[in-house]
Symmetry: C2
Subunit: 168 residues, 2 copies
């Protein structure tokens, strides 16, 4: 199974694909989709959509993991703009028949570090450790995307174990 984790942003969208094969987890690819800050909102959204579509086409994930919707009471306009980016990412998933699973930021942090309020550097270190990477995943958007994919992996693995224990 391949899990595509995405951390959406209007300027830089991080993505990362994890593969589970024979109970082993490995990083397939991770990177950044950039959109021109000089572009209109529509143009920037199109760049995100094209980038995500390209990633899905080439990396063929079965599931897409995203951070759960949440309301920034302090920055409501940013949250709405992020909704635009999230909308075209969900569209790309729907067009490829890929399920979207979302996880609260606190759940992602807690899964990786045991601390729902872990700082960015701790998250990057945890991802580096879990995926056995030579270097710290940079920039932070890539680490965030991998963290969300990893969170889905843990939930999926937990459900599998639960199902197997329930079998007679």
């Amino acid at each position: 199974m391949r899990i595509l984790g995405i951390d959406p942003g209007l300027n830089t969208t991080g993505y990362g694909v994890l593969e589970i094969n024979d109970r082993k987890l490995r990083l397939v690819e991770a990177g950044i989709i950039r959109s021109k800050p000089s572009g209109t909102l529509s143009e920037r959204i199109q760049e995100i959509y094209d980038g995500v579509t390209e990633a899905i086409d080439s990396l063929k994930p079965e599931v897409l993991a995203l951070e759960k919707l949440y309301a920034h009471y302090d920055r409501p306009t940013t949250a709405i703009l992020m909704g635009h980016a999230r909308g075209v990412i969900c569209l790309a998933a729907a067009e490829h028949g890929i399920e979207v699973e979302d996880y609260a930021a606190t759940q992602v942090k807690k899964t990786l570090t045991g601390n729902g309020r872990a700082p960015k550097t701790q998250m990057q270190l945890a991802i580096q450790h879990e995926l056995n990477l030579a270097n710290l995943p940079e920039p932070a958007d890539v680490a965030d995307a991998l963290a969300i994919a990893f969170c889905h992996y843990c939930v999926w693995r937990g459900q599998r174990v639960a199902n197997q224990s329930a079998d007679p």
Copy 2:
């Protein structure tokens, strides 16, 4: 020139196309794009995107008019969900090379009725009058979509008059 006005919603998205020909304004088509309330967010967004793409393909507007982004401080999650719908509408416009113009709800209301806080029924009546329609545009989403398109028409006409006056 053809103006496509859209009033996005996760359940029903209103749309309406106005045409300016020989200084006359006429309604080309208006209607509703529905998405299944039982669908996932991604499926519903895809239905909106497909509906808007179909409308653009068949009605060939030169410009798309939308309500300006604004933060509902009382309903932030609704605003973020609306951002998803707005995102795929902007994407459809970008893919067709159509410019997106947005207007604040108060500007749309003021343009049509002189009152930035006009109630829905007053807006429907004003649109019926301006477009010389036999019936009140129903449901309200259709009237809202036409009102946004009409607002863009007024701004465009105002700019044309200003440019002509400025010519030597």
